[in-house]
Symmetry: C3
Amino acid sequence: MKSHTAYLTMNLPTRRAFVNITQDVRDAVEKSGVREGMVLVNAMHISASVFINDDESGLHHDYDAWLERLAPHAPTNQYRHNDTGEDNADAHLKRQVMGREVVVAITAGKLDFGPWEQVFYGEFDGRRKKRVLIKVIGE
Amino acid sequence: MKSHTAYLTMNLPTRRAFVNITQDVRDAVEKSGVREGMVLVNAMHISASVFINDDESGLHHDYDAWLERLAPHAPTNQYRHNDTGEDNADAHLKRQVMGREVVVAITAGKLDFGPWEQVFYGEFDGRRKKRVLIKVIGE
Amino acid sequence: MKSHTAYLTMNLPTRRAFVNITQDVRDAVEKSGVREGMVLVNAMHISASVFINDDESGLHHDYDAWLERLAPHAPTNQYRHNDTGEDNADAHLKRQVMGREVVVAITAGKLDFGPWEQVFYGEFDGRRKKRVLIKVIGE
């Protein structure tokens, strides 16, 4: 069994953002030399997500507006987590809707993707350094 | 390490539906010859889900009504994604709640399932051809 | 390839609760002898979750209140699933928001975690025996 581990560093200038990291995942799979296996991609921080969807700016706007409706940032004092001095309770909720991780099949050395699948990092509490983990296993 | 890849084709006559695909997953595991490992099952399209829950029609009704409340289909012009000419923005949101994929343990050659676990394909924008990927790895 | 399987038994005295199971996952990884690989941790019951987030009691309060807002337990007759004699339809919905499973990378024999990541069992219909599966694969 082969394995390969890569880490991406994120430091986004806004509280919320979506970043396409598909090429980084492809690069890690290529480096691994794995032809048949799986790749795990996960946020290493608990107020961020990794998810797979469409690279379409209107959709990303819709996600942002929808997540704000499901779990609004303000008023921050509606959340007990924010009694600790944080203001990011909403980010912990939003991340659960969008998910922590994705697992993608590797077939014949490539990400085995449908026509529109792209991997995104979803930031819900930016303006600080965070990391994404890419773990490839297979043979 | 052994691996096996299977693809299911879906083409459902309604916009939204849930389809039990547990037997297809069992068949792929059996074909793989894997005794200890994992199987990944994912929607290859970004307006559909694969998830694990109960095969109970009342519950499926509840999921559908609940998802419509969280992310209504209409009015379609409430979503910027639909400015592209699509009318399926809600499907991209519903899919995030229900998830893209499941990973299931294989123990002694079988899906290592609790008493009620069943694998479902969740369609949120049907009436077109879509695919599901099943990837088995292990030994 | 090495593999190792462990099962945890849960029997919580309340309908809803969050339990930190990180040490159990670490123990299973250590027992497996796997240095590079992945560990899958999933609820084996369909009204419970396994997820990764912060071990902070205010946040857990926020999760509970938020999930009750998204998918209220009462009135129980709002759900068709409850026509079967159950009263736990809301638990099946809450579990979809929080997720069934997590997959965690193992690097150099350890859970490859960010600074705040902890694994939780989320119970949404307790007062009965349930199980969690931990499956380790790698080498």
